[in-house]
């Protein structure tokens, strides 16, 4: 028995478990109400995220940039223009860029190198807002949707992919900021909540990790926007009281590789709809 276990046993974990494991009736009612709301908004026929899928398809086919070509020649890992199942295997190592890339990094690379497009404006509009559409959110919704029904299967065969997964794991546990928070502070155990919000455990492979990763990108009702994993992690670091993470940076991708690894086997169904 290690030290922690001994201490826990000595001071009566049973008592704690009883206290935490028995929600009040009011708590149950609140949880049920949230579940009801989730069920109500998850009807795919009324999910506004599918409008983004349509917009994304147009953007994928639109000729742009100095070379006046569409993105249809972009190789997302399965060959030029091959979309079905590509998202399920990302992030992955791309030899032409000599970099492990998530879908957003790869699209930026294709815009720059295939289309000859200056991506400054695209990056400035990476997260949509009132009166500000996001090409990236629309493209991600369209491309990720082409992996629906498939299972998360992140590639870890290339040494650089293995490096990214290991770095992502380290970043997951790294504490910092004025509140000393890491990802693991909130996502390291089963069945925890912030306020009423349930927290998926990413410290080990499991159902919570699979369900979470397989449901991004998602349409956020509270933000009236499709949000991608880049946005989710940006928002996590914001709440962690960390500095602003750079969009489409290697650290965010490393973290995504680690999370996809924990979520391997999760069946993709996107864009989902969330609060």
């Amino acid at each position: 028995m290690n030290r922690t276990a001994a201490v826990v046993a000595a001071c009566g974990l049973t008592a704690l478990a009883l206290l935490w494991g028995r929600p009040t009736q009011a708590q149950d009612a609140a949880e049920k109400e949230i579940e009801r709301y989730r069920a109500m908004i998850s009807d795919p026929m009324s999910n506004p995220g599918y409008l983004a899928v349509d917009r994304g398809e147009n953007l994928w086919q639109e000729k742009r940039g100095s070379k006046n070509v569409s993105l249809e020649g972009c190789d997302l890992g399965l060959g030029a223009g091959k979309l079905d199942g590509a998202f399920a295997k990302l992030p992955r190592y791309f030899s032409d860029a000599d970099r492990v890339m998530d879908l957003e990094q790869r699209l930026l690379w294709c815009m720059q190198n295939l289309q000859g497009l200056d991506t400054k404006d695209v990056v400035a509009r990476r997260f949509s807002g009132p009166g500000k559409a996001s090409d990236m959110e629309d493209l991600i919704a369209f491309i990720a949707n082409k992996s629906n029904g498939m299972k998360i299967d992140v590639s870890l065969s290339h040494p650089r992919e293995q490096e990214a997964a290991a770095v992502g794991e380290e970043m997951f546990y790294r504490r910092g900021g004025v509140n000393d928070f890491s990802c693991a502070t909130c996502h390291g155990e089963e069945g925890k909540r912030i306020r009423l919000q349930g927290l998926p455990n990413f410290s080990k492979p499991g159902q919570a990790a699979r369900e979470t990763m397989a449901s991004w990108p998602t349409y956020r009702v509270s933000q009236s926007a499709v949000r991608t994993m880049q946005h989710r992690l940006w928002d996590c670091y914001r709440q962690q009281r960390w500095p602003i993470p750079e969009y489409a940076s290697d650290g965010i991708t490393a973290l995504t590789v680690f999370l996809q690894k924990q979520a391997a086997g999760g069946e993709i169904n996107v864009p989902s709809i969330k609060r």
Partner: protein, 209 residues
């Protein structure tokens, strides 16, 4: 509070000072620190310098990171000693302020996020992790319930002092606790901490009703 709940809560309070805030993960080192630093730099190096300095781990956090909070006993002792030395008790000797103000601070989640306007007064955001007054249903479960805290401790002066130190610097009580070091890291002021302590211990506070 029922008679059954009281010993349960006391159990929880005892644990509060004894469990390292940790998951069951054991320390392992899958990758060279220099490589991790390179990735971190690529992700955060455009942030303002004062923000970047916040994610440079101090000696305590470096140890917590190295062992993923499961620090060996000798290291834990060093951390507790180091963090205990940081705790500044109020010069006027009064550890309790205004519980009504404390209730607001416990509910306030803003502060120190990059989205917050400069000069935003940070709250303690206690409800994110703890149950406090019984009427508030929107509470988190990352930390133990603190409902009935002062009542359970019968306003024991030593318990009040320990609670003040815990809020000021959680790691003065538990090495690598998951709880922020609110006073030591300058998140909350002395006056704010006093108000939170009053919210926990004042017999008039809804926490103890």
């Amino acid at each position: 509070m029922t008679n059954i709940a009281t010993p349960i809560l006391l159990g929880a309070l005892l644990c509060l000072t004894a469990i390292p805030g940790a998951t069951a993960q054991t320390a392992k080192k899958p990758i060279d620190d220099a490589i991790v630093e390179k990735y971190l730099a690529s992700t955060f190096s455009k942030a303002p310098p004062e923000w970047q300095s916040r994610i440079k781990p101090d000696e305590t956090l470096a140890a917590c990171n190295k062992f993923r909070n499961e620090v060996p006993p000798a290291e834990a002792e060093k951390i507790v000693a180091r963090e205990t030395a940081k705790v500044k008790f109020p010069a006027d000797g009064k550890l309790m302020g205004d519980w009504k103000s404390g209730a607001k601070i416990a509910n306030e989640g803003r502060g120190n996020q990059f989205s917050d306007p400069p000069g935003t007064t940070a709250g303690g955001n206690c409800y994110a992790c703890h149950q406090m007054e019984a009427a508030e249903l929107s509470y988190g479960t990352l930390g133990p319930s603190l409902t009935g805290y002062g009542k359970a401790w019968k306003n024991d002066p030593e318990a009040i002092k320990r609670a003040y130190a815990k809020v000021y610097d959680s790691q003065s009580q538990v090495a690598c606790s998951n709880m922020p070091r609110f006073g030591a890291n300058g998140v909350l002021t002395e006056a704010q901490i006093k108000d939170i302590i009053a919210f926990l211990f004042d017999p008039q506070s809804p926490v103890n009703k």
